[in-house]
Subunit: 123 residues, 2 copies
């Protein structure tokens, strides 16, 4: 059902080696350094597939871009409204996925996004 591809491997590798939360286009530019003729569509398709299978996390914040995260363990994302940075934060509360059972909802994963202003932008 799911075959190996060196493109997908390279995409995962790029994501593994960054601590930011890049967009598809950023990853595309990065992967092009090793696979110059890779297609942007290929990047999108593989990212969607990896997110679907739970290997990576897809993150939608209020900047109009889809962001990706190699870390799938529950954690919070602090999104600076000014500079656009997405900062990881430890989650020292119980994940929400435990809560939603009384509604008959089967949770798969939870995204926490805190909007605000980061340290740098505040001065």
């Amino acid at each position: 059902m799911k075959n190996y591809s060196k493109q997908r491997e390279a995409i995962l590798e790029v994501l593994r080696c960054t601590d930011t939360h890049p967009t598809a286009n950023w990853i595309y530019e990065k992967v092009r350094e090793t696979i110059p003729n890779i297609s942007l569509g290929t990047v999108y398709r593989n990212l969607a597939q990896l997110a679907e299978s739970g290997e990576i996390l897809s993150l939608h914040v209020a900047d109009g871009f889809e962001h990706f995260d190699f870390v799938t363990a529950p954690h919070a994302h602090l999104h600076c409204k000014q500079c656009g940075a997405i900062i990881d934060a430890k989650l020292d509360i119980e994940p929400l996925s435990k809560l939603s059972n009384d509604l008959g909802f089967t949770p798969q994963n939870t995204i926490y996004v805190v909007y605000g202003i980061c340290k740098n932008c505040k001065q």
Copy 2:
């Protein structure tokens, strides 16, 4: 700085009277019933302004649409990957924004999205 407009009033009224989490276009269609020649751009502009001022909540989930919520108090959103429904859920944990973080981040509001499958779609 901010003047009254009957268009903004109508947009807020539509949002106040729905328990779903509509998109700009859905709100546009609804407001057109009372203001037939309102412009879609006007709906977008006012929703952005209302979200910016904190009167409503802007919600980005993995369906490519921006959704809006009249309820600004912290609560979780259960998003069904199958039918696309967004269901409100009580938040019986301490909101993330209250948590002190040593990252120097100034939180303004937090969005909680739980992805999964809803009761109906599960059968």
